[in-house]
């Protein structure tokens, strides 16, 4: 069991580095279905996992390539700290069933957003990686 959990973490981590996401989107359903957790418990545990800088190793690879906007990143961190508290207050009193359904809708929405190919209208948005992505 412990081994499965460790491997699950590793698999999620690969996605974190590859896609630049937090990992919670994968962690929450994985814990609900593989570890048989309740929706609230899975979400709280996911937030716990994301407290330490788990993406630091992945960030290093992007940093070396100059693919990081430090100022925008700091602004985003501040915004998410504030918004996160509001979201937590909304989620805790919700019935587990509704929270699970809402999470499902959120996954569908995110899937659409991720699928769309971003169109960089602005070539100033210094996209070194974009050239390889386009080829």
């Amino acid at each position: 069991m412990t081994l499965i959990v460790l491997l699950l973490g590793l698999a999620v981590g690969v996605l974190v580095g590859l896609l630049g996401i937090g990992g919670g989107v994968v962690l929450v359903p994985a814990m609900v279905y593989l570890l048989r957790m309740d929706q609230h418990l899975a979400q709280g545990t996911s937030l716990l996992i994301l407290l330490p800088p788990v993406g630091l190793g992945a960030l290093r690879e992007y940093w070396k390539q100059g693919q990081v906007d430090l100022r925008a990143g700091i602004l985003c961190a501040l915004g998410m700290l504030v918004g996160g508290y509001a979201g937590g207050l909304i989620a805790v009193p919700l019935a587990s069933r509704h929270l699970k359904g809402l999470f499902g809708c959120f996954l569908i929405l995110t899937a659409f957003l991720l699928w769309r190919k971003p169109q960089p209208q602005n070539p100033l948005a210094n996209s070194v990686g974009e050239e390889t992505a386009r080829g």
């Binding site: 580095g17 992945a58 990081v68 906007d69 961190a77 996160g84 359904g101 991720l114 699928w115």
Partner: protein
């Protein structure tokens, strides 16, 4: 610089929206932040991902986590077991992202999430 100020303000507001989703769904918020940065602020895909990762370095979910933990909704045992894997996997993924074309990966991932989302919503409300 007014232009820059407006842009910064919009980025902050977009991040607040990601934060609400983060707290509401117990996720990091990057899954929303990456497409936001790419679609609304014309970030290249790699740059959006790198910037999202830096936004996730500080414990942005701390306040949300406290709200959950107070209600007893956090499993410390599984949480602590998952952390090292996610970290090591992250290094691997970051290394892979330079070598792969992330677009295909993203679409496979989006497809999987779509199916998973439908399944979860149906399982929750279809009874």
């Amino acid at each position: 610089m007014a232009d820059g100020l407006l842009r910064n303000a919009s980025i902050f507001v977009a991040a607040c929206v990601c934060g609400v989703a983060s707290g509401l769904f117990g996720i990091g918020g990057g899954a929303l932040l990456v497409p936001f940065l790419a679609l609304f602020f014309a970030f290249g895909q790699h740059r959006a991902q790198g910037t999202s990762l830096i936004a996730l370095i500080p414990p942005t979910g701390l306040l949300a986590f406290l709200a959950y933990d107070r209600a007893g909704y956090a499993s410390w045992k599984f949480g602590l077991l998952l952390i090292p894997g996610v970290f090591v996997g992250g290094v691997l993924g970051g290394w892979l992202a330079k070598r792969l074309q992330p677009r295909r990966m993203r679409q496979v991932f989006a497809g999987a999430m779509f199916v998973l989302g439908m399944w979860q919503a149906a399982a929750a409300w279809w009874r």
